[in-house]
Amino acid sequence: MSFHPNEVARRGRVASAALFGGFVILLGAFFRTQVLQNAQYVLQSESNRLREVPLPAPRGVIYDRAGRVIAENLPGYSVSMLSPRADSLIAVLHRLRETIPLTNEEIDAAVRRYRRSPNRPTAVLADASFDVISVLEEHRVQFPGLIIQAAPKRYYPDGAAVAPFVGYTGEVTEGELGSRGYGSSRGYRSGQQIGKAGIEREYEDRLRGREGTRFVEVDARGRVVREAGAREDILPEAGPPLTTNIDMDLQRFVAHLFGDSLQGGAVALEPSSGAVLALYSAPSFDPNRFIGGIPADYWRDLNADPRRPLYNKVIQGRYPPGSTWKLATATWALENGVATLDDVMPTPCTGGFQYGNRLFHCWEKKGHGSLTLSQAIEKSCDVYFYQLGLKIGIARLVAGGVALNFRERTGIDLPGESAPIFPYSIDYYNREFGAGHWNSSVALNLAIGQGENSQTIMSMARFYEALATDGREARPTIVPRADTTRTRIFTLTDAQLGGLRSALAGVVAVGGTAAASQIQGVTLAGKTGSAQNAEDPTRTHAWFVGFAPADHPAIVVAVLLEFGGHGGRAAQVASKIVAHYLKVVPTSHLQTEG
């Protein structure tokens, strides 16, 4: 009998045991999930629930040496959107377009940002106007994932006057996010603003500050349920202020001097420290228009402009140094005992110099006659320097330029500096022209700053900085550095250095090539130069590099005017810069071309 009570009782025990077994298994599974794996699921539940809204950190304010503001932050607004899926983001943005103006490009860019980090609010407008914000606030209920965020906005009170060194900021690009410098490992996320040029970029790490986070609670459909209080906010940390060596007063003056008509670049240094007092490249651009996205037409205009406003002529432009180079030749000759300041060359200047079957001209067709080295510097006599070059010899001329660091970048703290072009040794000529296919006439050109030699304005300023001091150069710096070591590039006696300086002072004295640029009460020492220009041989670039006061230099100035003609014009600009800095008056300018 299968239903005998004993049988039933036995089956009852089996069934009870089975029930108990099932209970234990289920409870064990819950214990495992709820107690052992609790941390993992809490994390998942939190990431379900909370969306991190970045609170952008204000970038560090940039000051000049006297505490005047170069770059600051203004209150601005950004608009971003939380969405569960890309297609819903697209749908919402198209609806948003009925309320505020949005271009197709902006929508595409937002979708790309979303795909890169879907859990972050997708930046839609980096810098929205107050009008747009008030319209959006009105329609807020229609857009549950909408986040309007106060976002500090970069502002440069002096605009174009500071753009050449300060640069600008912009949204980090996809390409930059993929690179090592701005990768997610360093805390960069799409939609963030980063320094794109100038010291904004060079000192990005110092200026960026630390992004904060606000935790917003969302539901499964991405609707914002609670804007605050879901978890305590992490407040952003502003970037620390950055004080530069720039003298805003001088910087503004330089920008003003160039105005709209002059094209070129100028840099002013403090000779003892290498501190950059002013750095300007003309024409410049308005960095304020770059904030929150560069308007397409402005960007097009800047790139189409033949005067190349985005190109920093002080550190990126390379020009034949022309006669400003004669000091390099003279320094090298003096240092190696090839000549003294009073040496006269065998052939007096008659307006030209016959070498082999070719006549090398002096800029002064009437000729300078017989000159000492000092006088040759004052008059910038080419014939003298042809012979000096021959006397030094091509190998030593090249070695001299290398020793004076004319192959090296100056190492200024700005991104994108170009290295000068200068032969590394005479092998350069063998490689360029073939062994035996060139002769020592290249020494004639090299000695007067022509030939295979292109220098940046900054590079020439650096060399004159050594002339203005004791043969040592300091690395040019916009932001003061702890390391102020100066590197010796040549060794001259005090007498030799004094002689060179007084020769340079003679350039800006009656009878010199920049006589028109004298300054009342201050001796300006410097050298003019006219650099041949590959684009248009009839219009040379005008150079002036010098320092003042001659006996105790307080400022080194290098000026290059593109297509500026004679170096005397550059000297006038330089003298005004020096006079402004030293607070003295330049003498009335007599146009004495010579």
Binding site: E7, A15, G22, T33, Q34, Q44
Partner: protein, 416 residues
Amino acid sequence: MRRATIADYPLILLGLTLSGYGILMVYSAGQTDVLTGVAYLYRNQIAWLAISVLAALAASRLSVRFLEWVALPAYVVTIAVLLLLFVFGSGAGTAASSRAWLTIAGHRIGQPSELAKITVVLMLARVLANRREAPSSLVELWQPALIAAVPTLLIMLEPDLGSAIVFVGMFFAVLFWFGVPWPTLLMLASPGVSLILAFSTRLWALWFVALIGLLIYFYKPYLLEGVGIVLANVFMGIIAPLLWDRMKPYQRQRLLVFLDPSSDPRASGYHVIQSQVAIGSGGWLGKGFTMGSQKRLAFLPAQHTDFIFAVVGEELGFVGVAVALSLFLVLFLRTVRIAARANDTFSSLVAFGLAASWFVHVGENVGMTLNLVPVTGIPLPFFSYGGSFMLTSWIAIGILLRISSEGRGEAGALAI
């Protein structure tokens, strides 16, 4: 033999405690940040509980003999209603494409498959109780097999796989309780095992070799019976891939998702993943009553019906889960005890069948919230929102009360 107390108070208390716990959870399920209609459903559930308790009291007035008599007509009506569903049925919830709901003129009357659970148990018990001996061959089981198979197939065709599984579980449990030997049950189940294993040819081949071995050395059937078993297994092995092809996409998805929820985290796997996250993030004591963020923020699907147990796990933690599961365990053990002490075979089988029905529900429902079993859209007794099932569960309690009161007062060999 003497009469026990009129009412089995522990059973009533268990039912009320579970229902109260359930209504609290239905209330909590409605407490979401963006309020939906679910917020007010707990009121309906309270009303349903009141109706259900009245129905249970009414059911407890019915004598066991009446139940035995009414089993046949009730069963016939049940089959007829299940057939009607193919005309008047409509879907809901996680199984929107099925026809589990009897719908007349747009009004959902109820889910007949719930009441069918009781009538099928009654019918099975009636047919089996008329026999003196436990069947010794599969052929002798044709009657109960047919009684269970017809509604099972009809419900499977709705399609409502979850409820169909309950019928299968109930059928085997009743046979076990009746004393059908283990080997016979195994042979009876073998085609089903074949059907499942056939998705892997190698597993199926292994199973088939084992089956032949069992048949020859252990079960020793009649020749025809043995041939029948082998043929049934071969047939299932062949039909399985065809069946797979004919499965509804959502059914196929559910099976795949069970094997790997992350295979489709956005859609089908989403429910299971979110349910696990809800339960797992509950910890020891939970996030607090009505405070579950997964539920509040609508990450948890069907939080008031199929996934209500995930709300228990999230808000009341492991402790809340342990209390709920313990209540169920005590209910089951109590019911098994009633079955063991029942006065006659029919009552005993009915009691055990009802316990089995609950057990399969709880195992399937709670198991799916942790992805221990595939998602089959099946409610949790006393917890999930829904009138038919509440009513059915309480009618079952009513019947059990009657059986309990007619049963032997003295505990048998069971010590509960």
